[in-house]
Symmetry: C2
Subunit: 225 residues, 2 copies
């Protein structure tokens, strides 16, 4: 039996920006397969785990292989957030034989350069993907949507400092629906988790307060007890 | 490389009931190993996954092996809630060679009969366990504690119908701390998820309203958006 890791790398990028459409769209990274099975198809970055290799070490290796030329900004090998997603082990998922895939979810605030043969695709409507990778992407999107409602996981899709409008744009993009601005701000601030940086962002609009999240993933634990 | 499943079966049972101590205590199922490595030690119910066997099929097989004589009440092979917990794959976790363990969390409302060689132990302070199984139990308890704060997962530790006192006892037992009764009831009812059954439980105390959860796991999604 073989064990592989597959990584769902999610990020956000500006979309066309039609009226009423959220200004960001979720993207997922895929690589073109150069051999069978599924030669020529898109697949998640992934690979078999070496006999003495840890699971997260294999994830780092795979992300390194999919990364492009170093450039300023986010790097594929240094996601803002990385978590184990789920393990997919249906007996028939790989035509070559039994391969159990441990999948991971990696979040980045913007798409970094990627290797030749890798590309970003719409995460909510991905192209045909090899193996059961479409199910894995769907599980990642479901996990992210759910986790946004009870944790600070949005930090993975934001820079260190952000405005409440930036934060709302992350929620709207992942949930693919507009949110009421006043209601969103009231609920987010009521959590008591956002720290004001003391700085403001100035631009074409009026100055907006900058915030940051506390370090690490925080679960909103005041809902019941 | 080998792939195994290991199952953390958690349930609740009345404890001594000293003043101020929650009236229920979390228990975890362990089986005595009859061969090396760790012969004679306690371990989670688990086993290698067969080449053509699905992961959840392996979980069912393992639970069947750990189950006791059929009796009225909960059955080990029919947990109220079952979810994949995490996959543990550190290269040195099994002295025999590389074994990647896909762990599951199973919840039952009360401890059913178990096979000879299996026994229930305190989940918050388990005995020495083989391999990295103590870490797996800790991960299960952490997942359950966290999930109680943002979902209806408590249904896995309750019967179909329950009073608010029953529900509070589940939260107190898993979180190992007393909760304010009035505050707990207010927050739980404010979620708008509990359905009144229309029946009451009568006993030595005054009659108490019975509730049920909606089917399946529901995440409290009104926290932010």
């Amino acid at each position: 039996m073989a064990v592989a890791v597959d990584v769902v790398v999610l990020t956000l990028a500006p979309d066309g920006g039609d009226d009423g459409v959220p200004p960001l769209t979720p993207l997922v990274l895929a690589v073109r397969r150069d051999r069978d099975p599924f030669a020529g198809n898109w697949a998640l970055p992934g690979g078999h785990v070496g006999l003495g290799e840890g699971l997260e070490a294999a994830v780092c290796r795979v992300l390194g292989e999919a990364g492009g030329q170093p450039a300023p900004g986010p790097r594929l090998t240094a996601p803002r957030h990385l978590e184990q997603l789920a393990t997919f082990g249906a007996p028939g998922r790989d035509p070559r034989g039994r391969v159990v895939s441990v999948s991971y979810l990696a979040l980045l605030p913007a798409p970094p350069p990627v290797a030749a043969g890798a590309a970003w695709h719409p995460a909510l409507d991905p192209p045909a993907l090899a193996f059961d990778h479409r199910d894995i992407v769907a599980a990642a999107v479901a996990r992210l949507r759910s986790k946004l409602t009870y944790s600070t996981v949005a930090y993975g899709l934001l820079g260190e400092e952000f405005t409440l409008s930036d934060l709302q744009a992350v929620y709207e993009a992942v949930q693919a629906r507009p949110l009421d601005k006043r209601n969103f701000r009231r609920k987010v601030l009521a959590l008591g988790l956002l720290e004001e940086t003391g700085e403001q962002r100035r631009g074409s609009h009026r100055p907006a307060q900058l915030y940051r999240f506390p370090p690490g993933l925080v679960v909103f634990d005041d809902v019941i007890a």
